[in-house]
Symmetry: C2
């Protein structure tokens, strides 16, 4: 019987998921949030095991606030809530993708997403060699 060297932190999260989850040095996993209707990437939040558990079992998006050191349910202050549609873990089990129905702007600054109007200038124009491979390539 294999026992993983580091036990998952105590939480109500399904032990099977907790065993898979790879956390950063703060015990958190980044959670990308995407709008189910517009497909916009809205924001990046961070979840610990319990925040993921609450997200999966309540249908509302919960995060861990690194600045306040506390749980945070999106919209409780702003009213701009997120209803959870889907949650997926990536191939390395170290990133979460949360698909939500976003009510109101997602960003605390009032913009639609946290990236809206914050583009950097891209000067490179290099494209991949042979990007469209033929059937024999």
């Amino acid at each position: 019987m294999n026992i993983s060297e580091v036990s998952p932190p105590e939480s109500d999260l399904d032990p099977e998921i907790a065993a898979r989850l790879k956390r950063n040095s703060d015990g958190l996993v980044p959670a990308i949030v995407q709008d189910v209707d517009t497909r916009e990437v809205l924001m990046l939040g961070y979840m610990n095991d319990q925040a993921l558990h609450m997200t999966l079992t309540t249908g509302r998006a919960w995060y861990w606030s690194r600045s306040r050191g506390d749980y945070w349910r999106k919209g409780d202050t702003s009213g701009n809530t997120q209803d959870v549609v889907d949650v997926a873990l990536d191939c390395d089990n170290d990133t979460i993708l949360v698909t939500v129905r976003q009510h109101g702007p997602a960003c605390h600054t009032g913009t639609r997403t946290c990236f809206t109007g914050r583009e950097l200038t891209v000067t490179g124009t290099e494209t991949s060699p042979n990007p469209m491979k033929g059937p024999d390539a």
Copy 2:
């Protein structure tokens, strides 16, 4: 004259962008990668200042590999390259959104995205109170 307490790491990145960038304890910034055509969230990578500089100035997506401790240009091994369309920083300057033209599958396992087929079960059905506010609300 204000001088920030911690100088940005040495790199070729535009000093104005380097001064804004907020890095994690490993000196990295998470980069969400989205397909410009399908709008799928493809993967999460990590960039240091120099990887962001190369991404902005070459038009190809560069990352920092945490496991190998080296720069990594997406597609150099797999052939599944990413041509950069847009790059944006979020409101807190601690997350990057890279919009790309993805050639081939984005995931090293061969799936279209790193999240494809890796959904977790969502049991919660709570929805936001008063999600559709009327004009007087």
